[in-house]
Structure formats: C-alpha cells, structure tokens
Symmetry: none
Subunit: 502 residues, 2 copies
C-alpha cells in the first residue's frame, strides 16, 4: 500500500476544515447578526482544534514520513515532491511549537486585540503597551522554539511564516534602496505639491453607483461571478474556499471615490491568484498563493500598475463620467489620472499613495526588529515611531491614534507581516516589467480593454503554481531574475516625474 494517497485523503480533510473556517469567518465579517459572535467563536475554535489535532497526530506524521520515503526516487520537480516539501515544512513548524505556547498565544492575542481597539479609540497607548510586551515575549519564545538559523536572526523566523525563505539580510538592501530613491523623490514632489489636486475625488459619489461601476469594471477585467462574489465589509479582504469560490469585499465612502474603486481592483488581484491555481492542487498543501508578498504583488499589480495607469483610464474614464456626470462631466481624463496619483506624506498607512506607502512599511520593519531585539521597549515605542515619521515623512502624528495605534497587526500577533506589503509593491513592478517584455502590446491592450493576455501570463507564470515553488524560485522563473527593486524604482521615477513635471 502506498502511503501518499492516504496522506492526501487525510490532508484533504484538514483542508476542508480550514475552508469551512474560512466560510465561517467570511460570514462573520459580511452577514452574521451581531449577537452570533459568541457562538461563532466557539465553532471556529473547534474547527481549528480539530484541524490541528488531525495534522499533528502520530498517524499523519507516520504517513508523511512513509510518503517521503516512497518519493525518494520521484522527479524533484514533480507535484508530488512539492506536496511533500510543503507538508514537511508545515509539520516541522507545527510539532516544534509547544501546545501550551500556541494556546497562550491565541489567548493573549485575542485579549490584546480588544485592548488595542479600546486604546486606539481612547488614544490611550499606555494601556496597550504591556500587551505589546507580552506579545513580543511570546514571539521571541516562538522563534526560539522553531530555532533561529545559524546565519540568521530572530526576526527571520517570524518573516518565514509569511514569506518563506525571506530574511532581514535580503530585505535590508531592498528597503535601503527604496529609501535612497524615494525620499528625495518625495521631497521633490513636495516642493511642487500644488501641481496635483485630488479635490475631484472628494465630491459626493453615490454608494450604489460606485458599487455598480466597480463590479462592472472587475467583471470586464475577468472577475467571474460564477466563481466569486463581491460583498461589503468594514475592512476589505479576499478569502477563498476553493479555486472556484473566491470572495472579495470592499467598502464605499461617499466622499472618497478611490476607496472602493481601487479597493475592488486590489482584492480582485488577490482573487485572480486564488482562482488561477492549478485545480489539481485543490484540497492539498499546494493550494493557495505561495506567500503574502507574492499575493500582494498580484493585488498591487491590478490596483496600481493597471488601475492607476493612464492607459486604463483612457478606456474607463468616459464610462465613469457617464456614471457620475454631475461630478466628473467637466473633468478631463488627465486631471482624473493626476488626482488618483497624487503623492502626499500622511499619517495613515492604508491611505498612503504608492510612493510614501513604503516609508510607512520600512518604519514598522525597523521598529519591529528593535522591539524584538529589546533595543526598544514597548513603553518608548511611540516616541521612536514619531521620530521615525519625522525622519522619513517629515510629519509627526498629532496623536498615537494616528501613529503607533493605527494598525491592528501587532495586537493580533502579526509581527513580521508588514514587510510583505512592500515586497508586493516591488514584485508587482518586477512581474509587470517581465509581462511587458513578453507582450510588447501590453499598454495598448490595457488602453483598448484586452485584459486576457495579462491575466493569462500571470496565471501561467505565477497563479498556476500555487505553493509548488518557494517564492524566490517562482520569481526567478517568472521574471528571469531574483527579487530586485530596479523595475519598481524606474516605474516610480518615470511615472511621478511626468505627473509632477520634475
């Protein structure tokens, strides 16, 4: 008897439990009545517990070991070997972390999220600080349990959960490079801030008209409603229950048109990834995007490289004018294009433009390392935050609420997560440049509404592989080179030099 089919059956059950959890989470964030929360938490806890137990129990470990022994002679590039590699990676991580630490982490993070929500609301960082300390302490224990690589650091262990193989050593030059090139660019833009206004985006835009327009656009771009949905939530997200069932959400703001518009394109990019994965990988460890950074590259590519391009709006601006004749009837595509690409230093990461966004991320990346390495205490973190903001963006948040308390991530234990956002930006440009080399007509295609070649290129080179290749291998295969900021920096310089006539 071959062990691999039995392992696959077992792993498929675990995957089904995880997908069921995803449905329950989606429902909780879209449609669940408020008072359903207490029971929902118990249902989710049970699903997570059963999935974990099924995975780490001796029988699964034995099946995995036996399947590995069987596969010794199998082609190293086969799906089978990739399956076992990913399963092993997950197993090794799961068995090394003591259950007591997992439980404590879940409990602390659950409480910390509530403390954070209240402290943010009350602008009371002091009450959150001890919880941040506890989380940092747990993260250090976690990293030590998994084992810190000889040539690496504690932060590398956390990074690896979100971006396999990524290290501080790889990230540092990338981020330094970005700072070197974007800080002067932002300064130059600031000196001519008056050249671009975004007032036209802040007019009254009816919510249901926004929804209708956004949905029509993403459908034309290829979002297939027989395989996905768009719903409304407070915090937009993408989730998937199968390659043929991928859900995205958005929020609508009456006086901020880009929110829903680019939010939809962003989540659509995530959705295309999940919809494009090899259907043979369904219910296996190879399903799902390979890393957060690569995932974010797909959302950013559609949101920014396509969605904030001049070519795209040559096609869509006339339609947007038809949807909002009173608000946009007398505007030009040029002024709309400039408005949606306005650059301005601001306090809030999620509202930042393409260029300054990365400075928000780098700040967090630096602070996370200092906090983890105990060079900085949680107590002193707000002062450090504000000093860094002053340095990189020339601003100091008037309150912690608009500073260190703005993001949910740390309170939920998400340390090492932020860098993947900027990795996504960098990779989006690197992939887009590779796509353009393969398809010289790409820009004119975008202008004329031909999106399937780009979609197909991404599907073939990125989506299809799921988790088969580690991120670095995937990027090398798709773009012919390792992670590099060249394409991204060139893109930013060309685009914004033109917009701001620098």
């Amino acid at each position: 008897m071959s062990a691999f089919p039995s392992l696959k059956t077992r792993m498929a059950e675990i995957s089904h439990l995880e997908m069921a959890s995803a449905v329950l989470n989606w429902d909780q964030r879209t449609y669940m009545p408020a008072r359903g929360a207490e029971s929902r938490a118990k249902q989710l806890a049970t699903l997570a517990k059963l999935a974990h137990e099924l995975f780490v129990e001796q029988k699964t470990q034995d099946l995995l070991a036996a399947a590995e022994a069987e596969a010794a002679g199998v082609d190293a590039d086969s799906d089978q070997r990739a399956y076992l590699r990913v399963a092993r990676r997950h197993m090794d991580k799961s068995v090394k972390v003591p259950t007591s630490l997992v439980i404590e982490n879940t409990e602390v993070c659950s409480l910390a999220r509530e403390v954070w929500a209240k402290s943010r609301q009350d602008n009371d960082y002091a009450s959150f600080a001890p919880w941040l300390d506890r989380i940092l302490h747990l993260k250090r224990q976690y990293a030590h349990a998994l084992g810190i690589p000889k040539d690496g650091c504690l932060y590398d262990v956390l990074l690896d959960d979100y971006e396999e193989g990524m290290t501080v050593r790889t990230l540092d030059p990338v981020f330094t490079d970005l700072k070197t090139h974007t800080i002067p660019l932002v300064a130059a833009i600031n000196a001519h801030a008056d050249r671009v206004s975004n007032e036209l985006l802040t007019r009254d835009y009816d919510e249901s008209a926004q929804a209708e327009f956004s949905l029509a656009v993403i459908q034309e771009l290829g979002f297939d409603l027989s395989r996905g949905r768009l719903d409304k939530t407070v915090h937009p997200f993408c989730t998937n229950f199968a390659t043929n069932d991928v859900r995205i959400t958005t929020r609508y703001e009456k006086n901020w048109l880009p929110g829903a518009l680019f939010g939809c394109l962003h989540e659509m990019g995530h959705a295309f990834y999940e919809m494009g994965i090899n259907p043979d990988y369904e219910s296996t460890p190879l399903a799902n995007g390979v890393s957060l950074g690569v995932h974010e590259s797909q959302s950013r590519l559609w949101e920014n490289l396509v969605g904030r391009s001049h070519a795209f709006w040559q096609r869509y601006f006339p339609r947007l004018q038809q949807t909002f004749p009173k608000q946009l009837g007398h505007e030009s595509v040029e002024s709309f294009y400039r408005a949606i690409n306005r650059v301005t230093p601001s306090f809030i990461r999620v509202e930042a433009d393409e260029i300054t966004y990365n400075l928000h991320i780098i700040l967090r990346f630096e602070m996370e390392q200092d906090l983890l390495n105990e060079k900085l205490s949680a107590k002193d973190a707000p002062a450090a935050w504000n000093a860094k903001m002053q340095q990189s963006l020339g601003l100091v948040p008037p309150t912690d609420r608009e500073g260190i308390l703005q993001d949910v991530h740390w309170s939920g234990g998400g340390i090492g997560y932020f860098p993947t956002y900027t990795l996504g930006n960098v990779l989006a440009s690197q992939l887009f440049a590779a796509a353009r080399r393969a398809m010289p007509s790409l820009d004119s295609d975008i202008r004329t509404g031909i999106y399937s070649p780009l979609r197909e290129w991404l599907r073939t080179n990125v989506h299809h592989h799921g988790k088969k290749y580690p991120p670095a291998t995937l990027i090398q295969r798709a773009t012919g080179k390792p992670l590099s900021t060249d394409d991204y920096i060139a893109y930013l310089k060309v685009k914004y030099t033109a917009i701001y006539r620098l």
Copy 2:
C-alpha cells in the same frame, strides 16, 4: 471523575461541526457562486464524516454509557436525563449506519440539489430522475441499516428521523380524517368559487417595497435583527447556527403579493422557535426544535392563524395600502382578507391555500411510499404525480416545473419529511386553541398589535424545551391532549363557511 462533563465537551465539538455545516449550507443556498458547488460538497462531506466519527467512536460511546450509569439516580424530568435520552436515541441510530453510507448520502444530496435547481429552471425532469433514483436507493439502504420495526414499515424509519415516534399507522387516520372533512368542504367552496377573487393580489408589486414591508412586519412581531437575518433564495427556509444566530429566507414575486408576505411570517415562526430555546441547551443535543411537525406548527401558526386572520389585517392593511397606494388604495380590508384566504386547487404546494395544501402533502406522502417500495420508478414518477393531481385536485400541471420539480426536498434527501407539514397545520390549530384558552384577549391583542403574550406563551410552552420532551409529550403538556384534528377541522369549517357564505 464524572463522565457527563467530558461527554458534554465532546458533544459540543460535534455540535460545532454541525453548526459549521449549517453555515456552509446556508451560504450555498444564498450567496455561493454557482461553480463553488463541487468543492462545497466535499467540504460538507468531510464535516459530516468527522462529526459522525467523533460521535460514534468508542470513546464517545463509553462516555455516554458511563454518564447514563452516573445519572441513574437523577430526577427523570431533569435536563441531564433528557440530554442522555436524546443522545442515546441518536447514538443507537448512528452506530447502525455505516460511515460510507453517511458520506455517500451527503455528497449525492449536495450535488443533486444543484442538478435539481438547474433541471427545475430548464423544466428538464429527465436530468434529475437518475439522481432521485440514487437518493431512493440510499434511503432504502439507510432504513434497512436502522432496521424496520416489526409492526411498522420502511417508511416509518424515515418518518422517525423527522418526527420522533410517528408512524404510517398514526398518520393514516389523521390524513383520512382530513380528506373526509376537507374534500366536501373544497367541493362546496368550488361551487361558489366566484364569491372570492384574488385578483388584487396579482397586481404589480415592486419587489423592494415588498421586502421593506415584510421586514418591517416581522420586526414588529418580534424578529430581532441582532439575532437573525432575512435573505433571498429560490426556496425559502430557516436555519440556525445558535439561538442568537437564526437565518430565514424568502422569495419575491412581482405579481403574487402573498408569496413573500406569508413566506416571511412562516419562516419567522420557525425562527421564533429556535430563538426561544433554553440558552443552556446551546451546543447540546437538546438544542433545536423537537421535530419537524412541531416546528411547522410554529410557522403555520404565525403564517395562517395569525397572518391570515381578519384581526391581523385590521392592523396591517392600512399600512400595506400606504406601501402600495396605487394597487390597494381603493380596496377594503374585507376584500383583502377574502383574497388572501381564497381556496382554489392549484399546482404549487407553497402557494396553496390552507385547505388544499394538505391534499398536496397527501399526494407526496403516497408517492414517497410507492417510490421507496419500488411500486413506482423515478422515471415514471411525473406521470404518477400528474395522475394523482388530477384525482385529488382535478388539475394536471402543464410542466414538471409546476409539478414534480417544484420542491427541493427530495433532491436534498428529504423523504418522509412532507407529512410533517400537515402535522404542523393540525398542531398549529391545536396549540392556538390552547393559547386562546389561556389568553382570552388573544384575538383583540392581535388586532391591536400586542404580540408578546402569544410569543411568550409559545416560548414557555413549546420553544424553551427544545428537544427535552418527545413531540407527543410536549403536545400533551402544552395543550392538555394528544394530537387531534378537532381544532383544525373546526377552525377550517368556521373560517371558510363564513368567507364563502356556505
């Protein structure tokens, strides 16, 4: 160490898996993109398999046996004893059914539902027939696995899943009684069919105005949106994931006002039951309504005894007129009351009036027995359906879509389910008569919009108990007598003699 707490922990996990399945089912019927069906079937199959395995595994059986031994001296009327009685009933059924049959049943039914939806839409019974055959075959296997009682029949085994203790032997005289009294009543009404018109219900009623009115009414009657939702589906239903998370659905037809209106009241009645169950029973075998018949009594009570009463519309007709001034502005509450109570033989069960409704059920009850007993093949079923319709209602459906394809039940494996609808009609009248004896002001309360006394009476006498008492015991306690058609037949005769001036 006491076994009962450990049993409860284990049973709570099983309940959480079942509630997760309910969420996945709800999603499949409300919002899931069409092509998600295949993966969803697998996810549901895994959840059902794991719940079944957890329940029937030796450890659970041992815990149940130990808990039973511990409880020997405990008050027979206690929740603990009721818990163990219900768990034992379920266990005895579960251990007899092979896991493979449970899995096959879940998968087949999930796919069959999709086939049914399409075949109904396309009026293409032929594509559904082989699925009905598969389902019937599985049901026969199931009944034989459980064991057919010596003094009973195969159909009794299926009935007992929906209505504990119910048998063909008990149902036959109830149904005969109904036929005896209602066929002449329908004949007398038919002779004066021209005395009631429902034309006013077939005017153009805007869907969103219907939705707004229906939602406002059920909220006034006590449907709490912090504990429930109303959504739109092809086939209306009620489901629950917790006493504080109960979902109902309806459908809107532009030229048939009663569809959504009474559909909402009907599902609201089901929802009140689930929302009213003792919160201590959450995640235990005592949660949920005790049987489908008792459940249906709650929906029918609000839909018909309240919703189709003259008293109710004295309050709500003026508001309905305000919602639809063009359509109803010149109508009287009297003509509206008569219209919504028009009796006329028709094709569609869910649109049938109170009297002929039961003839639809009796048709299905008879066909299910013939199909199960292989006196009738799935292939020949549409012809048999049409012949029976001709016999009992004097009509032949022009298409299968208006005939055998109209209901979702068989496609979901619900065979033995239909009789509980008529049981519900009978019990609704029996309970309403008991409530009226306890609250002489009931009719004037309904007229003046005071609904909480009726809601509370039902909660105290029916809802609160969950599955604590078997249906027959519950009915005896609540009404002072066993199941009886007396109140129902008296109600129908008085009401319709007046409406039709017989």
